[in-house]
Amino acid sequence: MTAIPLLDVRDLTVEFATRRGIVRAVQHVNIQVAKGETIGIVGESGSGKSVTSYAVLRILDRAGKIAEGSITFSGIDVAAASESEMQDLRGSEISMIFQNPRAALNPIRKIGQQIEDVLLTHLKADARDVTEKAVEALDQVRIARPRERYHAYPFELSGGMCQRVVIALALACRPQLMIADEPTTGLDVTTQKTVMDLITELTRERGMSTILITHDLGLASAYCDRVIVMEKGRVIETAPSRAIFTAPSHPYTRKLMRATPRPGITLRDLLPEEPGGPRLVVGKEAPRSGEPLLTVTKLIKEYPRKGVGKTLATMFRRGPAPETETFRAVDGVSFAVNRGESVGLVGESGCGKSTTSSMVMRLIDHTDGVIMFDGQDIGEIPAEKFAKLPIRKRIQMVFQDPTDSLNPRFTAARAIADPIMRLGDVKGRDALRARCEDLAKQVGLPVELLDRFPHQLSGGQKARVGIARAIALKPDLIILDEPTAALDVSVQAVVLNLLQDLKEQLGMSYLFVSHDLNVVRLLCDRVIVMRGGKIVEEGPTERVLFAPEADYTKELLSAIPHRDFDVPAKGSELRLAAST
Amino acid sequence: MKRRDFLKSTAALAGASAVSAPAIFSSAKAQTRNETLLIVSESGPNNVDIHGVGTNVPGYEVSWNCYDRLISHEMKTGPSGQPYYDKDKFKMELADDMNVGDMSATFKLKKNATFQDGTPVTAKDVKWSLDRAVTVGGFPTFQMRAGSLTKAEQFVVVDDNTFRVDFAKKDRLTIPDLAVVVPAIYNSELVKKNATEKDPWGMEYTKLNTAGSGAYKVTSWTAGSEVIMERNETWKGGPLPKIKRVIWRMVPSAGNRRALLERGDADISYELPNKDFVELKSAGKLNIISTPFSNGCQYIGMNVKNPPFDNPKVRQAVAYALPYQKIMDAVLFGLGKPLFGGPEKAVEAAWPLAHKYNTDMAKAKALMAEAGYPNGFETTISFDLGFATVNEPLCVLVQESLGQIGIKCEINKIPGANFRTELNKKTLPLYTNVFSGWLDYPEYFYIWCYHGNNSIFNTMGYQSKDMDALIDGAVTAAAAGDKAAWEKDVKGFVDLAYTDIPRIPLFQPYSNVAMQKNVSGYAYWFHRRLDYRGFSKA
């Protein structure tokens, strides 16, 4: 990189004034982006990657300020520029796309008008041709029937479509640099790939530079020329994508890399290398041949399509009633979980996997079908009654969001003790405490943390409390509802291993609900793939993942960006060559 | 002055283009002002017909000014030099001539008198009107009965122009009762035209419209906020009044009423707290006229039917414990005629008279002990919220004083509309109220307030054979013109009322009127409302 970089961030430090005093979110960061280059900034939450990008655009929160260092964008000193200079720069020279695209658009303004606002602000169009240009911008991001969609509001579009609009917005004024901040988070796997491909294609066409901010090393590896790894506000490693994956130099990078679930590894591979070697060797053995513990037959769940309002409206409507007044969230699902087995339930959002698990959990009642648990039809027992029956303790659950699933007013010990007090057989304060401490030890939670409240615990610690609570009654079946979705990869690695260990020790069965095939693969013996309330494919994990039969499974698999993780992407090598 | 300038400048700004000469406009305004009387008061009429069901006191004022009666009263000079109605001298209003015989009175009507719609007033109208008063029931019928006028047969049309009232019995109140507000003369044809089968007396029509021959007519009435009355240019009941137009606005806040007067925006107001009158008087910017209520007083009543007030000793103890002077000073600011600390016995045959009691806690305590209540008792003192300005501090003082002789009272505020109902149940143990009679005769007051014949204003439930005998004696003596017997009986019943003391008079309230210096012609009437006919503005 001999030429002057398009963006040159030197020694950047960003400070935030908070209740605990000044916090340095970004410290002495150096980043250079050359013209036409795509770089990735990778890090876990709190690493300062987003703050860095906000600093570049100078759109930090009120509390934050650039304390030290300089940011130069094609010769302009961003830190010193006036607000009106910055406004000229934003959207016109540097643009940004965000995660959660629907929230990133003004909910009450037509998308076409939102694009027009940008075009008009930067004088890229005048009143006469602005509509034409906005439609053109929509067309460029492959939105079908752009002239109609011009009048759409964000809520009328799918998430992927919204992200396209955001991209159109970002590209409307043909900027030189685009910053994409986790552009695929919150989108379904299949959509993720389309969006990423679109971004790559459009930016390459225009010869733009791109900064991709992500927590996903796989994603960065697939799409970037260079990757910058950040941890706790500092850049710890900068290297070409291929280099960083073949020979990561920093221990943190190595840890991060290892922790990323990918094909061809075992659960234990996720953990950092330990001097003492693996604690426990767990092979991926053949599925245990236990008798069925849970058998679900033709399970159906229907919801009324709308509330009272709808029925009122139909009361006064003339003509025939609409065909279906109900919506089937789960449509005739049958499967079994054997003793000691882990079964993965995979699908994109809205496929009915959570509804299925809630019914099995007996948190909601089913519309039709049979749920046999250990020879008993538990589907027959209303959900309200089920809560107080002894059988309740044999089916437990670990929730998706460890924060949400802990009562903020209960200490960790109280949370773990709650099921024991209600359904367990341990009596007396001391015995209860002893049992809690045992459980804490079992899940690797330091006993001294038992008296803390959830907000005083880290994400991983909260996850452990949730797991301890689930195993407190020694259940036969645990439903894991995306137990690691809210966790960083390194924490996820630890928690997944913990779950595997516990299963071995306690001989439980798992029904693992997840959208992430790579994670499912690590933990499950069998996989069930759902779509639209129905099962599309079922079979042993290895078979389903490596020789999928259903088209949908194939589509899901191909959408995973880090499928060929260890092999450097061909494209990136080419791009790397071009940029140097 | 400042305000005027301000107004002028904004008006000029606003109307600079529209109004060519604001000066002319203002002078036109000023001229109308001279012939317009602006009255502000707390409440307004709910019915402009005194015969109406539940017509309130402000309604009397409209009736008084918009209707004529056969006769009215002459004026004399009152206690503070103001014109004061002369209860003994009558003046002709619609009648041209009155001839009182032994058992009847004959009236000749004014020949040229017409109603406000131009129809002449005839004896037929007079009979119809008086028939209506004795028939419709409620207050008008009751008031007519006070003058022994009870039956339609008593009213006789002699000819178109001559009318006779036959007396049912000899009663010296009969003629005065024809000069009160109730026996107003209605345009019978007009009202009958608007009557219905369900409403033969046309009450619904007269509730909202005036149908009289009086000096004024209501031209606009927004209930609760404004009444506008215009002069009847063809009035024959007397000399044409000076004031062309009367605007009567309801201003609920006393402070605002005072401010309006002080700033010169209102011409006259009569419902102000006593303190405001005292201060306005001493400020000297306004004319203030205070006249004691004729035949009336504010009192503390006690229910004599039930313990503990059935015991005369307790009542006397209360009479000795009341903080009379404090009330005069702090509540009335001196605007009242004391009715306490008088002689042992009535020295003249008049009413109201001061009683012998005065604040004496030692005597009060001794009487309480004698009555068997050395430690006192608990009770409630009630008052009419409508007159809270006087009643509330008065009751607070009474409560405090009675507390000193062991009587613990709780103060019970009763909204105006319910107060009468509550009083008429005759169960309130302790209360304060004002009673005043239109007809200024002692026996009239006593019949209503002390007679054992279950009189409605005998709210104490007082029963005494001696009292009844004395009152009846006085009535008979008066009708017969036996002055000595009458005087004896009057002194007798006053003394008895003060010994048994079922109600303790506190003071004779003043009727206060405040008006601008350029307003003159205020006269005191028994009904204590304004008579617009005498007013003029300089």
């Binding site: 209740r19 605990r20 876990e44 939450s45 709190g46 959990m361 948190l363 309200e384 809560a387 309740r392 303790k393 437990q396 659950m397 929730f399 998706q400 460890p402 924060t403 949400d404 699933s405 802990l406 009562n407 007013r409 949370a415 709650d418 099921p419 007090m421 359904l423 409240f453 005083q456 880290s458 994400g459 991983g460 610690q461 609570r469 809210a486 966790l487 960083d488 924490v491 630890v494 | 806040s253 006393a254 402070g255 605002n256 002080e262 707290p273 303190k275 201060e279 404090k326 000073d329 702090a330 509540v331 809270a388 300005t389 509330e392 607070v396 003082l397 409560q399 103060i411 505020k413 909204p415």
Partner: protein
């Protein structure tokens, strides 16, 4: 979500004090209102024992005297010491505020939690009741209740509570509704807790902070409401000192220049309401920094 250790925690009351101290230091206005609140409570508790005069004793010889060294706030029509009356009134007004707020919390808060948590017909019934009350002009409803039931302190409290019912029911309902499907509620169900127990141990404690904020804000309103009722003659019985009634009594004297009779109780009224409102804001900062309005 990171797995970085959270900084050393402080526990229970110590944490609250620390946090409160931070909020007070950060926001001078809140600190000021805390100070005022302490003063008001002090006046309510010891006021009647330390005032210079008997608040009920009339002294007509010194009636209507302007503020002086002997009578700091002057005297009223009956010569009673306005200062003593204002201070003594604190207790009653404070009591009305606290009692009505406690009552409405018991009625509206619980009904709202039930509505939000159980949904269905409970929700519809509570919603209808709240809607019906809301459709009344609230102050007039309060007047109506007091007029119909009689003007006693209990009825004023009841009326104020009823008038605030929809507000509490709605807040409690939406807060409970958010938590109805929260992970920890589901987890409690899995632990074998019945609905009632879940409401009491899981949901209610979590919405308390929001409710306490609301209670502080409504306390101000309760005082205003009681004062308004007194002003139109439906308040507490004389001669009990109460701010609203004192303003109403003093209003008539304002124009004649005896401004102090209405002014000081009015000022006390304003300060108390002001204090409760600011305090509510401050509490909200402590409880829920995001939601500050």
């Amino acid at each position: 979500m990171t797995d970085t250790p959270v900084q050393a925690p402080t526990h229970g009351i110590a944490a609250i004090i620390k946090h409160s101290r931070y909020v007070i230091a950060e926001n001078k206005v809140t600190g000021f209102s805390f100070g005022l609140f302490v003063l008001i409570v002090l006046a309510a508790v010891i006021g009647p024992y330390v005032v210079p005069y008997d608040p009920l004793a009339s002294a007509t010889s010194v009636a209507l005297k302007p503020p002086s060294a002997a009578h700091w706030f002057g005297t009223d029509q009956l010569g009673r010491d306005v200062f003593s009356r204002v201070i003594v009134a604190t207790r009653l007004d404070f009591f009305i505020a606290v009692a009505s707020v406690a009552l409405v919390f018991a009625m509206g808060g619980l009904a709202g939690v039930a509505a939000g948590f159980f949904g269905g017909w409970v929700d519809r019934v509570v919603g209808r009741i709240a809607d019906t009350i809301m459709a009344f002009p609230l102050f007039v409803l309060a007047m109506g209740i007091v007029a119909a039931l009689g003007n006693s302190v209990q009825n004023i409290i009841l009326a104020t509570a009823i008038v605030n019912f929809p507000l509490y029911a709605r807040i409690a309902r939406s807060e409970a509704n958010i938590r109805r499907d929260a992970g920890f509620v589901q987890a409690a169900r899995l632990s074998g807790n019945g609905d009632i127990r879940i409401v009491l141990t899981q949901v209610l404690p979590n919405i308390m902070p929001i409710m306490i904020v609301q209670m502080s804000l409504t306390m101000g309103y309760a005082i205003l409401n009681a004062a308004g009722l007194s002003f139109i003659g439906l308040g507490v019985r004389p001669p009990t000192p109460e701010w609203g009634i004192m303003v109403a009594e003093g209003a008539a004297f304002m124009v004649s220049g005896e401004w102090w009779i209405a002014f000081f109780p009015g000022l006390a009224l304003m300060i108390a309401v002001f204090c409760f409102n600011l305090l509510g804001d401050g509490l909200r900062d402590i409880v829920d920094p995001q939601r500050r309005t």
